[in-house]
């Protein structure tokens, strides 16, 4: 049977002339191989993006906040610095989760020549113990930018429980094609070009990022636009402090090794009927209680904003984000409520 198949496949290729075969093979190899070649020769593919590390080194922060868009929409670093008289920096990445936060603590905060006194990590509900959430797939190429050459913890979770052929293929593509890590710089480059053309043709200087933030502020969105609750896919697992179960113990360990005080700050989700009901769900309450106990036992701080009557619905933009216009208001509220974090 096998021989028959081989004969048929050979027959199929015999239909082509020698020149055709050579060209077809060369064509496919050239198309698939050129990006690999360019990755290792002319293209400047970032192995580890040290932009944030250089920024933090320059800023010499005493307090560092880490998180996803929840953090970005809530805190204004310069206002916090001004209010507290301490140097405050923010490491924020939209759509990031526990894997990326671990890398932020380990590869940015712990790698600083002058360590900050305190790190405060913003999270929602069960994000800290869902290691697979926002880790692989389309998040992978950006995750690699925060990774050093040797990352056994991240590798472990990428392979766990079994990445399957799809997970294996994702990683193979990223490894074979380091050019995929050029996505963000390339997209920025196109944006800069578009901005340059616009400024040349319209003649005045504008900060388009700021302008776009204002235009697409969450408060300007239609009420029927789906909100970014984000974690619907997370399973309602019980809290598990096993280092093989989540990045959380590794985050705690990295901060402890660096001699940095670590706090976890659970942000209050949008306080509407559905999310309030969700926040009061018994398994989640139990989870949060267990998380608090475990962190306390590790000497790590835990603050839960959920239920704070001053964080009212009118502060929110879409989903769990605070509206851009209210970021300063929220920042002030945050400072007044948690002054001890800045002492």
């Amino acid at each position: 049977m096998n021989r028959r198949w081989v004969t048929r496949i050979a027959e199929f290729f015999r239909r082509f002339t020698c020149h055709d075969r050579a060209w077809l093979t060369f064509f496919v190899i050239a198309v698939l191989g050129l990006p690999v070649l360019l990755s290792h020769t002319s293209l400047q593919v970032p192995e580890f993006d040290d932009t944030t590390l250089r920024r933090l080194t320059k800023e010499r922060p005493e307090i560092v906040f880490i998180g996803d868009s929840m953090l970005e929409s809530r805190l204004d670093a310069s206002l916090l610095s001004q209010l507290s008289g301490r140097r405050v920096s923010i490491i924020e990445d939209d759509g990031s989760a526990s894997g990326k936060w671990f890398l932020f603590v380990k590869n940015y905060v712990a790698a600083l020549p002058e360590k900050p006194q305190r790190v405060i990590l913003f999270f929602r509900d069960r994000y800290l113990t869902e290691p697979g959430f926002r880790l692989g797939g389309r998040y992978l190429s950006r995750l690699y930018l925060a990774m050093r050459t040797d990352e056994p913890v991240v590798d472990y979770f990428l392979d766990r429980p079994d990445p399957g052929i799809r997970g294996w293929f994702d990683r193979a593509i990223i490894s074979a094609y380091p050019v995929t890590r050029l996505h963000d710089p390339a997209a920025d480059n196109l944006r800069d070009r578009a901005a340059g053309i616009t400024l040349r043709l319209t003649g005045s200087d504008v900060d388009f990022d700021d302008q776009l933030d204002r235009t697409f502020d969450r408060r300007n969105l239609r009420p029927d636009v789906p909100s970014d609750l984000g974690s619907e896919d997370l399973e309602a697992d019980a809290f598990d402090p096993d280092p093989k179960a989540s990045f959380l113990p590794h985050i705690v360990e990295s901060a402890a090794t660096a001699g940095v005080d670590l706090y976890f700050f659970r942000v209050q989700r949008r306080p509407n009927a559905a999310t309030i009901a969700n926040a009061n769900e018994p398994t989640l309450l139990q989870y949060v209680a267990n998380l608090r106990d475990w962190l306390t036992a590790q000497g790590v701080g835990f603050i839960d904003e959920t239920g704070d009557p001053r964080i009212t619905l009118d502060l929110y933009g879409d989903g769990d984000h605070i509206a851009l216009e209210d970021r300063k208001r929220y920042t002030r509220l945050f400072y007044e409520t948690h002054r001890e974090l800045f002492e």
């Binding site: 496949i9 082509f16 389309r138 995929t180 996505h183 390339a186 239609r222």
Partner: protein, 474 residues
């Protein structure tokens, strides 16, 4: 299974590897099994309606051969079964919603439907293809297919099953029943077409979608921003749908089939008539041949012609979706067609002479603006927002708003540039372009360089927010 997934890449490589090692009969059976797997991969129960449509039209066509006296009744049965299926799955919710609105308006209360159905992907495409076959057999344009597996493959052929092109039985069935040959040039050409499709989907359509979706998510966009959003949607829908067609045609070509063209640079059209000869050609020609011409076409005087056009465009609009905005969109194109005919605007040669070139460019620009107005009707499903958007005052746009809108316009155009250049160079009926194309030697190296650039661009510039193909929802 969706084209822009690793699942499909693996599936396609496996199918091609096995397929070309098989003899012709086995190739068809294997392709049928692969096609059913491809379709059932999305949801196995989707296979149910597909099999019903396939079995019905196969048996109806065989019946027409056996009982010629009952041909008409059998044709009606085929049409009824297919349209009922389409009606139940696609229009039931729409029907209930409108009945409820009427009952509500008359103060009679509303009712909750007992049925809540998921629309099987691609049902609008394969039911038309299946009806087309019955009509073709009825009109004796081709004999009824003898083998069920051949006919089932015609309906389920995986490259075009989910979003077309809607093939004609007179074209695809002979390709299925006859042995297929393959050359290296055909394989390469198919792979290039697929690559071009992936580029258009992942780089152009998905990046344009980011801008369009953001703007259409605003509750109160200004005039400039709204129309940039519409422009981005125009780019998105064209890149997205034509990408699907290109991937389908490319995949079919690698398997030895040649599917029909579905797009020929629609935004270069000068008149609505020309637009529908360049946009979703397989649907517009289907409606022309199976709806418009049977109704009498233009043979029964101007008034009847206008009515026939009205019905054809209404069907086209309703085919796109069970919502009034699609009907409105179809009727908008009907109105444009009538107005253009009344004014007597015809498509002229482009760049043949300087004066005609200028005239043609102005006509292209005007029709593109009108097309964009149509896309607003198509995109905005909420009538309140639609009314608000259509009455936005351009004088309220301040300079900063204008700059932001212009920036997004340029950004969208930068992503779309390869597709726009391709259309101008390959689709504009200009003599100098034809001469230039003929003078390109050696073409092979240019094709290789283009393929390398496209693949590199897909790896680097593909949008991080990927969406399904828009036409999947229809």
């Amino acid at each position: 299974m969706i084209f822009h997934s690793l699942d499909f890449v693996g599936f396609f490589i496996a199918v091609v590897a096995v397929y070309w090692a098989l003899p012709h009969r086995a190739q068809n059976l294997f392709l049928l099994a692969a096609s059913w797997f491809f379709y059932g991969y999305i949801s196995p129960w989707f296979l149910g309606p597909l099999l019903v449509a396939t079995a019905t039209d196969f048996l109806v066509a065989r019946g027409m051969t056996r009982w010629p006296a009952r041909r008409k009744a059998l044709l009606l049965m085929s049409v009824a079964v297919n349209l009922t299926m389409l009606g139940v799955f696609k229009y039931f919710g729409f029907f209930v919603e409108n009945i409820n609105s009427l009952l509500g308006a008359w103060g009679l209360g509303t009712f909750e439907p007992a049925l809540s159905l998921v629309l099987p992907v691609g049902i609008s495409f394969y039911t038309l293809q299946s009806i087309g076959y019955s009509v073709d057999v009825y009109r004796e344009r081709l004999p009824a297919c003898r083998r069920f597996s051949d006919y089932a493959l015609y309906v389920a052929f995986f490259p075009q099953l989910v979003a077309g092109p809607i093939e004609r039985s007179t074209h695809l069935l002979p390709e299925i029943t006859a042995p297929r040959s393959i050359t290296a040039a055909r394989i390469l050409s198919g792979l290039q077409l697929m690559l071009w499709g992936f580029f258009k989907k992942l780089v152009i359509a998905d990046n344009a979608a980011v801008t369009a979706n953001k703007i259409f998510a605003l509750s109160d966009p200004n005039f400039a921003l709204l129309w940039v959003g519409v422009f981005a949607f125009a780019i998105q829908i064209y890149a997205d749908f034509s990408a699907y067609t290109d991937i389908a045609r490319g995949a079919a070509r690698v398997l030895g089939f040649e599917l029909m063209e579905n797009f020929r640079g629609p935004y270069l059209s000068q008149t609505p008539h020309e637009f529908w000869g360049r946009w979703h050609i397989s649907l517009s020609s289907w409606i022309r041949d199976y709806v418009y011409i049977p109704l009498g076409g233009s043979r029964r005087g101007p008034a009847r012609n206008a009515i026939n056009l009205f019905l054809a465009f209404a069907v086209s609009g309703l085919w796109h979706g069970a919502q009034w905005n699609f009907v409105l969109w179809g009727l908008y194109w009907w109105a444009l067609t009538i107005v253009y005919r009344a004014v007597g605007v015809e498509s002229g040669p482009v760049f043949a002479r300087p004066t005609s070139a200028l005239r043609a460019m102005v006509r292209i620009a005007i029709l593109f603006v009108l097309t964009c107005i149509g896309w607003l009707l198509f995109r905005e499903t909420n009538p309140e927002y639609l009314a608000k958007f259509l009455t936005l005052d351009p004088r309220t746009v301040n300079w900063a708003d204008f700059q932001t809108a212009f920036f997004l316009l340029i950004l969208t155009t930068i992503y779309a540039l390869p597709m726009l250049i391709y259309d101008v160079l390959c689709r504009l009926p200009a003599p100098w372009i034809a001469r230039w194309q003929a003078s390109i030697v050696p073409r092979r190296w240019i094709e290789l360089a283009t393929a390398c650039a496209l693949y590199l661009a897909i790896l680097v510039l593909r949008s991080t927010t990927q969406a399904d193909f828009i036409y999947f929802q229809f």
